[in-house]
Symmetry: C2
Subunit: 587 residues, 2 copies
């Protein structure tokens, strides 16, 4: 875009809005650090180097003596809804940690509300100093083995793909490629023609199946969980999105492709995928990943490139963001300590949003459209009997499939257990840590409740529930007994969704998420405190997981091996087909 | 694109078309060399690594033992017309040197014929194993100080920009940006919306004017002629296209940003801009630049990345070309000697076009459309008197502006000279090497002949002429006397354009270029021999320049300092305004 004011400022014909003097810049194009001043006009970088001719009355001068200027950080794969925060509050938290750009498919909202909810989210994001790039979700192109409230079909892809903020087609599913699916094929062709990115989603995919998948032109992957997988993917030409989320903590292993295997880091970058508010407000966001990488032995410049330019190039938006250079958005961080990397000052779109550690954006209550409200709609209140897995009345024992949830990864193990049967109902067993897990359809459509078995949550009493449950976001409950499960489910219908922990028929802790049943409308730090409390309450029930509700939300996801669960049944993730939870009954 | 056959080959369900076994690949993503086999299906790379399951009856096996496999080279800024070859012949020559992709704006053809000529060129390129990416020309958006035959306006940009092969808007002129021109502004906005590249053109631009120019989002520049300029541009976030052409030989100086200043080479790449057939057939193309860079001390991997991946990323087509990885076009070079880099085997789009040094593509005569023929149309035959620069009949001397043409660069110096006047006509002076240079409008429009003064050609007798003359491609003649100039000009009208050298009223050598007056329709090696001969003949006339006709073609270009010449006058390139060639007359 030809920008008259920026041109005039660069030429010294009018004063800059902001001048950052006496700092040194991290030039991610050349991998150099050197002293340079920066002039900003209309939110854009107008001039770098000697900018004395750009100063004038009205120029706000920032003295950066002793500071290094970094480009604002970019998270190129994050589900902002997983923070549990509204976009406005998410923005406040991540801006405070130096993130100035995120890319997200807003699929969770689309699942609940369809494209109208995405429009509402974009409206909310419009005025924010945090730039939001959109991916068109691709998961919903084919009807899944689940009931959802919204959706996102080919016509929605056609509508959203040409938008200026849209950067590609998100998380393309392996089995749809291998099946040469027609609808996906058309969406892919449209994306290529729009010169946007085909984002991958290839958990545990290697060898010939990975190659077959890549022949479609897939650009990136964020699902590597070990060094060998990461190495194969980056060698195969994928942009290696090294994930460090609240549950899936893959950075240490994946970073070894650089620190041990010494690959060129240009196609490596950091992403969050899913990270909740408590982690965001305590350990941080992209700053945390940069710090971790430097601790693991990466050179600071490489770590900075990975969090900025490499991400911008992966999204093909490096003409706009990812570096401190003329014509880019004025997204600049001031940092003194390059090892521990506290972010002292944050400028986003030319606005000083963090000033010497102080966040300058106030909390503002947002009035949400009816599209995003009242989305937890049960056909009738739940009763304990809804969660009974019934077999022959004469049965004594049942051998069942069990989803084993693991700490530190989204991958789940396929396990089995023998459980007792009482009066034809299979009983959970807290000693074996085999609990009930139920998915309750919440959009007043199928009205179904499906129950299977789970281990890893470790509850000794009570139940926990959530309306955040990938990728259908039905009401999902893990419990030691049907009564507490019913109480938990009914409570979430009252709060329009959220997270809840129940014991002995009483709610012991909760996080209301009334926006689409996915997000809070409260102040981020309030939600962080609510989350801290419910994690503590859940620990009291016996759960050893660090992020039990996020683990719960992924326990049901059918696109990550071994199993997922929906209102329609237990899903074998590799074959994407329904399997029976009960394998055998013995009398 | 979902490609059923490539998927099946990768999965081992059907045999590969080609298998390259026992080689080691240059992985430009990770900057590694390691042994790996490659399976090709339908012109696409299907699988890399262990491909034993992809072999079968009908698989053509290439034994690459002892060879390194490089991605095909990419020239991301070349005016293919400057080769003097038809696209088909240009393709044969550069493929033989390992180039499998070029990007070109085909502006020279557009100048002569408009968009219809571009369509004809693209038709010719369609079946070629050489991939042609198109830039929409931007020079012609504003009427220039010149008369041309064709043109390329905003409606042409709108038409061509969405094409799948179009990669951006070419060579955006500095003064149009600084003038915040409306038409250019719209073309730029369209390009950004199409997510394509804004290619720069910033000869000798530095400091605040460079910054002002870059605020428009300009992505690249190919005009750096010295280390300081190159360093400033790459630090400013531009993709540094290091040029090594037939006239502008900038590689040695510009490469020092890497070999001496040690910048990250990821945003550096090699381009030709303008290189003629004789250089292409003798020193080579991108292989020559890679060799030169390695000779200058660059690591082979960095040189290969610059000629492949870095170029593909600069054009934003790295999902398709620039590396050996699944889903990319099967563009692969087999090289044994990584220093001298003779290209032994070339596979382009999965076709073996060079096999152990033997070019497998035959010459094919192309019948060109009338759109591209008979484009040299003079109103009447030229006469010596057409080239007279007249002043007062009483004048004895005149002080004149002189364009001084230099070896090794497209930049020209602004000089002055005192010349004698005879009977009111300013006389060229071979002793001072100040000759006449005339531009004769050749599209039967203005019919004008404009004459000014030039030095650097060193002719002691005769005249040389060309219908290749940037950016108007009018008939351009440099001469020691008006008679030979008239003979030269009239001869080119007879041959439908070309290059010609004349002495004592006789044609001594010529290269007919009947396709748009820019390109030959003959076999490339025939044209190379014709070019060698005319260079020799021109040297006999006294010319010391290595590529006199290319120097001539740029001597008139108004977008490169100091001066240009068109049928309308002498142009000050920095101000882009007409200036008088005659400064003063003395009696």
């Amino acid at each position: 875009m030809i920008r008259a004011k920026a041109i005039q400022v660069a030429l010294g014909q009018r004063p800059a809005d902001i001048a950052i003097l006496n700092g040194r810049i991290a030039n991610v194009h050349t991998a150099e650090f050197y002293p340079a001043d920066v002039a900003i006009a209309d939110g854009i970088i107008a001039m770098i180097g000697d900018i004395s001719h750009c100063l004038g009355k009205g120029t706000k001068v920032i003295d950066a003596a002793g500071y290094t200027l970094l480009p604002g950080f970019i998270d190129s794969h994050i589900h902002v809804e997983s923070s549990l925060l509204s976009f406005s509050e998410f923005a406040r938290v991540v801006l405070a940690h130096g993130t100035t750009t995120v890319a997200s498919d807003l699929m969770e909202v689309a699942i609940v509300t369809g494209i109208e909810g995405i429009r509402e989210m974009l409206k909310e994001a419009e005025g924010s100093p945090l730039k939001l790039f959109l991916f068109s979700p691709s998961h919903l192109l084919k009807p899944g083995l689940e009931t959802i409230g919204g959706g996102f079909d080919l016509s929605d892809v056609k509508e959203t793909l040409p938008w200026l903020e849209t950067v590609g087609l998100a998380e393309i599913i392996v089995h749809h490629i291998l099946a040469t699916d027609d609808v996906l094929s058309e969406a892919i062709a449209l994306t290529e023609r729009a010169r946007k990115t085909l984002e991958g989603h290839a958990p545990a995919l290697t060898g010939k199946t990975l190659a077959a998948y890549l022949t479609a032109g897939i650009r990136s992957d964020h699902e590597s969980t070990n060094t060998a997988e990461a190495l194969e993917k980056v060698r195969s030409g994928m942009r290696l999105m090294i994930r460090e989320g609240s549950v899936s903590t893959d950075l240490r292993e994946c970073l070894k492709v650089i620190t041990e295997h010494r690959v060129d880091p240009r196609h490596c970058l950091f992403v969050s995928d899913d990270v909740h508010v408590l982690d965001l407000t305590t350990v941080g966001h992209m700053d945390h990943k940069v710090r971790m990488a430097i601790e693991q032995g990466l050179a600071p410049m490489a770590a900075i490139q990975m969090a900025t330019l490499n991400a911008a190039e992966s999204l093909k938006v490096d003409d706009w963001v990812g570096s401190i250079s003329p014509g880019r958005y004025a997204d600049i961080l001031l940092v003194k300590d390059m090892e521990k990397m506290p972010i002292d000052t944050v400028i986003a779109k030319g606005e000083v949003v963090v000033d010497k550690g102080q966040l300058r954006l106030p909390y503002k209550a947002v009035r949400y459209s009816p599209i995003l409200r009242n989305t937890v709609k049960l056909r009738r209140p739940l009763e304990p009997d809804d969660f009974a897995v019934r077999v022959d009345r004469g049965a004594k024992q049942a051998r069942v499939r069990v989803i084993r949830v693991l700490e530190g990864t989204l991958l789940k193990e396929a396990a089995e257990a023998r459980l007792n049967v009482k009066e034809g109902v299979i009983q959970p067993d807290t000693n074996k840590d085999v609990l009930l897990i139920s998915v309750v359809e919440r959009y007043k459509r199928s009205g179904r409740v499906f129950t299977a078995f789970v281990s890893g949550f470790g509850l000794k009493a009570g139940a926990i529930a959530s309306t955040v449950a990938h990728d259908h976001h039905n009401l999902t409950i893990v419990g030691t007994n049907p009564l507490d499960m019913a109480v938990a489910g009914n409570r979430l219908a009252e709060t329009e969704g959220g997270l809840v922990a129940v014991r002995d028929g009483q709610v012991v802790s909760e996080v209301p998420l009334p926006v689409a049943g996915l997000m809070s409308d409260a102040n981020a730090w309030t939600v962080a405190e609510q989350t801290r409390r419910i994690h503590e309450a859940t620990k009291q029930l016996g759960c050893p997981l660090l992020s039990p509700y996020m683990s719960l939300s992924f326990a049901v996801l059918p696109f990550i091996p071994a199993y997922g669960i929906t209102d329609l049944g237990l899903i074998d993730a590799l074959k994407y087909e329904i399997v029976e939870p009960v394998l055998e009954v013995s009398t």
